[in-house]
């Protein structure tokens, strides 16, 4: 063995430098001698009385010894080298540790010990940690550091932990030893890991090293079930990580200093200026990385904690803060987070939150959509958020945002369904849309190119010159025959960009579940079985929820589904109404802004949304902001234009209806009934302030009696009993339902506090809020009511007769977007760039349903459906009108073109820096 070692040593160039001419035997002798000296001191002297002189003598010896140990090669066939063998036999490490422990175990001592291990762990040539006499004192040392170490110790500790993790990553067999050793100690399993957790959210190098080390362990967990199980079940890793996000979030500024009106999202150079935000993003990035590499059980647990520990309790309320500035800031944060997250599982968590979570009974998505129409910075930031969302190419997002309103094909005439898939090979629609170009902007009126560019010349070819002669005219790129048209070469850049956008979108959408071509998903089936489908999906969800025992850490799901193991009964499942928001019970929420009255062909939803926003802004808590008064006025000015046609009639109906009974007011309108959302969960308040979710056939209720009839029917449905609508006493039923609810939910883990129980905690209607609700839809006088009368009866609806008249509506988002587009002349340039940018994003989507709705000008839509073409036509008229009233219009156009070109060049030159542009 000696010989072998010697040979090995001799062959090593590196070693030759350090221990030239020193053979292992000599090393061993030196080591033993040193140790003998050390032992003498250790045994003769009381550790507490050891003089500094002696202590430093020990230290010197030990340093030499460790150096020798470090440089020793493993013996043959992986056997220990002689020095290591000696170390193990004599229990050198433990004796040294105990000695220093018995002295004053100061930070200096700790540091010394930590450095010692750091050296041998990091640089030893043979595996040391496999040996208990080495590992055990190390674990004791680590335990002793687990308190609240000082920064100096912290740095050294984390460095050592990081090194240990590197060793683990290289040699997972050590892992088992770490577990066993911990068990011997009776301490927490896997000490290394536990020690790292407190540093997860730490700033600077220590935090980074800790996170790197943790990531190494996370990668290990993907392979090692035991590690995964331990982390998921015995450590607070996931909760710490998720709640840490909440903590870091709370230290973010609640209001951003907005530099200019054009600002609409947090760019890198923005957040780099905000240390708190940098720190948050670091932690978010770490979560992202953990989810990427960790075992699925850890991943699932983490996303679940992020959902229930950060998104729902922290971000949701933050999105509903009282002032516009705060809400805007939160929206900008959310946008930034979405852009920072890349792991599908984490993105799914965020998107589930946005699409399915309800805050005070309104889906986050609906709230966000409604805010697009606020004329303040909030609207702009919300637009930017949707740009991000749409840019994810996520089917679920697009489904909830737009496609689900198009799938039933109600927005078009029946005969048009076959047109959906048609392609416009000859650019007929393009010609029609381009014909809407205002005359002042047509190419003929364009000024000569402002930049020196290659221009493309198109020959109409009505001269008889030959191809060759015109192509080879020396310039190499122009063709001049007869009348020619100058086109900026940027047209080709435009084509290039468009092609890039379209092809990447098409590629991305390959993972989607359906082509959305008017046949798949089948529109008729979707309509006819809308109710069943809703039920079926709830059933599916229930299946997902039920085997909770098997999945201790469920993925995030709509909060309405309780996370508890309580058995689901039908009633509870009704809570998961994934179609739409419940009633906008709380006037503070933007629920009131939701585009409402989908059943009514007039007025358009976006107008109502505007009006509701206005109402909310005036009556709601925003008014608490003193500086908001001006904003309200601005808002009202903007809103007036859209509202003037409809406001009066609706206001009067609202007034009459606000005198309705208590039940009526509590059964408030959630303001929709979109084509596919015929069932709503309604909260029926009970006398004790608790509320009971009821499924309603429709939101449109004509009168008290009808309403209570309906309530009864629904209750009957819930119990799967066949009941006459008038037979049962409603009170009994409610009590029965209530008790059932309490039993199912209360028996579970009420204390766990998922928002599924929100309705219990927050009696949703208070007298003050009543005033702010919109009762328009309850009006007996409004013409819409007649249309909806059939659907008041659940049985009728079930038979399908009520659905024979599909309700054309393309969804709130499209409404809001088109509304903003139509207001183009009032918008700032940046808003317009966002709006047109989003439209361009949408236009790149390959789904025939979406493409035909936006771009096929030959499609015949239902009269109540507004198309992009109509809005553009209206815009053209507005612009022509403006052009005719302003004498200096041509000059304005020219300067605007200069501005836009300058902006483009500056974008090319300076990255994202925007140049402020004045609209007019």
């Amino acid at each position: 063995m000696m010989m072998a070692s010697m040979v090995a040593n001799g062959n090593r160039d590196g070693q030759a430098l350090v221990l030239t001419g020193v053979d292992p035997e000599t090393c061993m002798i030196v080591f033993k001698n040193h140790w003998a000296q050390v032992v003498k001191i250790l045994e003769k002297h009381d550790p507490l009385r050891t003089t500094n002189h002696l202590a430093s003598a020990v230290q010197n010896y030990v340093e030499h010894m460790l150096f020798l140990l470090m440089e020793e090669d493993a013996g043959q066939a992986g056997a220990m080298g002689p020095i290591l063998e000696f170390v193990v036999m004599e229990n050198v490490m433990e004796r040294l540790f105990l000695w220093s422990l018995r002295r004053q175990f100061t930070d200096d001592m700790k540091l010394e010990q930590l450095k010692m291990y750091e050296m041998i762990v990091g640089q030893a040539r043979q595996p040391l940690l496999h040996h208990k006499p080495v590992l055990r004192p190390l674990m004791m040392l680590l335990s002793s550091c687990s308190g609240t170490p000082t920064p100096r110790v912290e740095a050294e500790l984390v460095l050592l932990l990081n090194q240990l993790c590197c060793v683990l990553a290289k040699d997972p067999s050590v892992l088992e030893l770490f577990f066993h050793t911990s068990e011997d100690q009776g301490a927490t399993n896997f000490l290394i890991f536990s020690l790292l957790i407190p540093f997860i959210h730490r700033e600077g190098q220590v935090g980074q090293q800790a996170r790197d080390a943790l990531l190494l362990i996370m990668s290990l967990s993907a392979e090692n079930q035991r590690v995964a199980q331990h982390i998921a079940e015995n450590t607070y890793f996931c909760p710490v990580l998720a709640t840490g996000l909440s903590g870091l979030y709370s230290s973010l500024p609640t209001k951003l200093e907005v530099s200019s009106e054009e600002w609409h999202c947090l760019h890198r150079e923005d957040w780099l200026q905000m240390p708190a935000l940098v720190q948050f993003l670091n932690s978010l990035e770490f979560c992202n990385a953990v989810i990427q590499v960790a075992h699925p059980s850890i991943r699932d647990q983490l996303v679940n904690y992020i959902y229930n520990g950060f998104l729902v309790p922290v971000l949701a309320p933050a999105l509903h803060k009282l002032t516009l500035e705060e809400v805007m800031t939160t929206t900008a944060y959310l946008d930034l987070f979405l852009r920072s997250v890349s792991e599908p599982a984490l993105l799914q968590t965020f998107l589930t939150f946005i699409l399915l979570h309800r805050h005070e009974n309104v889906h986050i998505l609906d709230t966000l959509v409604s805010r697009v129409n606020t004329p303040f910075q909030l609207g702009t930031v919300s637009l930017a958020l949707f740009r991000t969302l749409i840019g994810l190419y996520c089917e679920d997002v697009m489904l909830q945002l737009i496609l689900r309103y198009l799938v039933p094909c109600n927005h078009m005439m029946l005969s048009q369904r076959r047109v959906v898939k048609e392609r416009d090979c000859y650019s007929v629609s393009a010609a029609k849309i381009l014909a809407l170009t205002p005359s002042c902007c047509s190419p003929e009126h364009s000024p000569p190119p402002l930049r020196q560019l290659d221009s493309i010349l198109w020959s109409k070819g009505n001269e008889s010159k030959t191809e060759e002669s015109c192509l080879e005219d020396g310039s190499g790129h122009s063709c001049i025959i007869g009348s020619e048209i100058y086109l900026d070469v940027s047209y080709l850049h435009y084509l290039y960009d468009a092609r890039l956008g379209i092809s990447s979108c098409i590629r991305a959408c390959r993972v989607w579940s359906a082509p959305y071509d008017g046949e798949d998903p089948p529109p008729d089936e979707y309509q006819a079985s809308a109710l069943e489908e809703a039920g079926a999906s709830r059933g599916r969800r229930a299946q997902m929820v039920n085997p909770k025992g098997a999945h201790p850490h469920p993925r995030p799901r709509p909060p309405c589904q309780t996370a508890g193991p309580a058995p689901m009964n039908q009633l509870e499942l009704e809570w998961d109404d994934s179609y739409d928001a419940g009633p906008p019970a709380n006037a503070e929420t933007t629920a009131a802004e939701r585009p409402a009255q989908p059943l009514a062909p007039e007025p358009p939803k976006h107008i109502q949304a505007l009006r509701r926003t206005a109402t909310m802004l005036v009556k709601g808590s925003y008014i608490e902001e003193s500086d908001f008064q001006d904003d309200v006025m601005v808002y009202n000015l903007v809103a007036k234009k859209d509202v003037r046609d409809t406001l009066d009639g609706r206001r009067s109906s609202q007034e009459t209806e606000s005198k309705g009974s208590e039940t009526e007011s509590q059964l408030n309108d959630n303001g929709h009934g979109f084509a596919d959302s015929s069932r709503e969960v309604q909260e029926v308040p009970l006398s004790n302030g608790l509320s009971l979710p009821l499924q309603r056939a429709t939101v449109e209720v004509g009168s008290d009696t009808e309403r209570s009839k309906e309530v009864k029917e629904n209750i009957a449905d819930h119990n799967s009993k066949v009941q006459s609508p008038t037979a049962t006493d409603i009170g009994d039923e409610l009590v029965a339902q209530y008790e059932e609810l309490i039993r199912t939910l209360g028996g579970g883990e009420v204390g766990a506090g998922t928002e599924g129980r929100e309705p219990f905690q927050n009696p949703i209607v208070t007298p003050t809020e009543e005033d702010e609700m919109d009762f328009g839809s309850f009006s007996v006088d409004t013409p819409e009511v007649d249309k909806h009368a059939p659907s008041l009866f659940g049985t009728k609806l079930r038979s399908g007769s009520a659905r024979s008249q599909p309700l054309p509506f393309t969804g709130p988002f499209v409404s809001v977007l088109l509304s903003r587009l139509e207001n183009m002349l009032e918008n700032s340039v940046h808003v317009n760039l966002l709006v047109t940018g989003i439209l361009a994003q949408l236009a790149a989507y390959p789904q025939p349903l979406l493409r035909s709705f936006l771009l096929n000008t030959n499609m015949v839509f239902q009269p109540s459906v507004r198309s992009l073409y109509q809005v553009l036509a209206s815009l053209k008229n507005q612009i022509e009108q403006l052009a005719s009233t302003r004498k200096d219009f041509p000059e304005l156009i020219t300067s605007a073109q200069h501005c836009l070109l300058a902006r483009e060049s500056s974008l090319i030159g300076h990255g994202k820096t925007m140049v402020y542009l004045n609209t007019q």
Partner: protein
């Protein structure tokens, strides 16, 4: 030489040409919008899409060329989708209205024939007459003009109907004539008469014609254009790699798709219209 070798070569040529030409694309300066091929007669009627648009909308004639170019791109895409056996086409570099093509006849009277041709599309497409097909070398065939080499396409497309007629149909027709001989109203009466009266002599003339065409295969392209189809003898240094690429190409799309980080997202269960309806197991990315 085995005709399939030609075929392989030609495909490689196309592939190479595309590769060669593609990098130069982003420099937009040289890009030309469709111009009029020289063989096209001067337009005498104002029926071009541009003028039509102009007459309708007054101001927006200028987009006409782009609609035309888009239509032609759409047609080309359709051709590719059809995967016509033995036919390869490529629009010219200089004009989208001129396409270069080659057709490989794999059996029948014209077996082993490799015929290069050019497609000329009228600039008022799709409202004008049908595209013309002109063979580089006039093939001995009843429907091919013995002087100009033009194939009688019009008999099959008496009236070109937009939305119904497509250029791939013309190419399909150009292939069919070599398998199913029609002697009615011939452009080459000699060939028609021989076919009807003396098939043996017709056959030998065809063989001669095929030989002639194939002997000119390596000639410089008739029209000087970077995208013109040109043949060259097999050169392992050049072609082996291209051949390798061709044979691995089939597998590439899926590999590419798999390897690529999924850019799109979906948690919708097929058949459902509910977000996040996929089973948890299938969600694992």
């Amino acid at each position: 030489i085995n005709p399939y070798d030609y075929e392989e070569q030609s495909v490689q040529q196309i592939a190479e040409q595309q590769q060669r030409a593609s990098p130069s694309r982003p420099s937009f300066g040289k890009k030309q919008l469709p111009t009029i091929p020289k063989n096209t007669a001067p337009i005498t009627k104002p029926a071009s899409p541009a003028t039509t648009t102009q007459s309708i909308n007054g101001t927006h004639a200028s987009y006409g060329p782009f609609y035309l170019e888009y239509s032609l791109l759409a047609e080309f895409t359709l051709v590719i989708k059809q995967k016509l056996p033995g036919i390869y086409v490529q629009p010219s570099y200089k004009s989208a209205l001129m396409w270069f093509g080659v057709i490989f006849i794999r059996h029948g009277l014209y077996q082993d024939g490799v015929f290069k041709f050019t497609v000329y599309i009228p600039d008022n497409y799709p409202d004008g007459e049908c595209p013309r097909v002109v063979f580089d070398i006039p093939v001995f065939h009843p429907l091919v003009d013995p002087v100009s080499g033009e194939l009688d396409v019009r008999r099959a497309f008496t009236k070109w109907r937009r939305n119904h007629n497509h250029i791939w149909q013309v190419l399909m027709y150009a292939r069919t004539v070599f398998y199913k001989i029609n002697t009615m109203e011939p452009l080459n009466p000699e060939a028609a008469v021989l076919y009807d009266k003396d098939v043996q002599l017709f056959k030998s003339k065809v063989v001669e014609s095929v030989k002639l065409c194939n002997s000119h295969l390596f000639d410089q392209p008739k029209i000087d254009d970077p995208y013109a189809i040109s043949f060259s003898p097999w050169n392992p240094a050049v072609h082996d790699e291209a051949k390798e690429r061709m044979f691995t190409h089939k597998r590439r799309p899926e590999d590419h798709h798999k390897g690529l980080q999924v850019s799109g997202l979906s948690w919708v269960k097929p058949g459902s219209t509910q977000p996040f309806s996929k089973d948890e197991n299938s969600q694992q990315s």
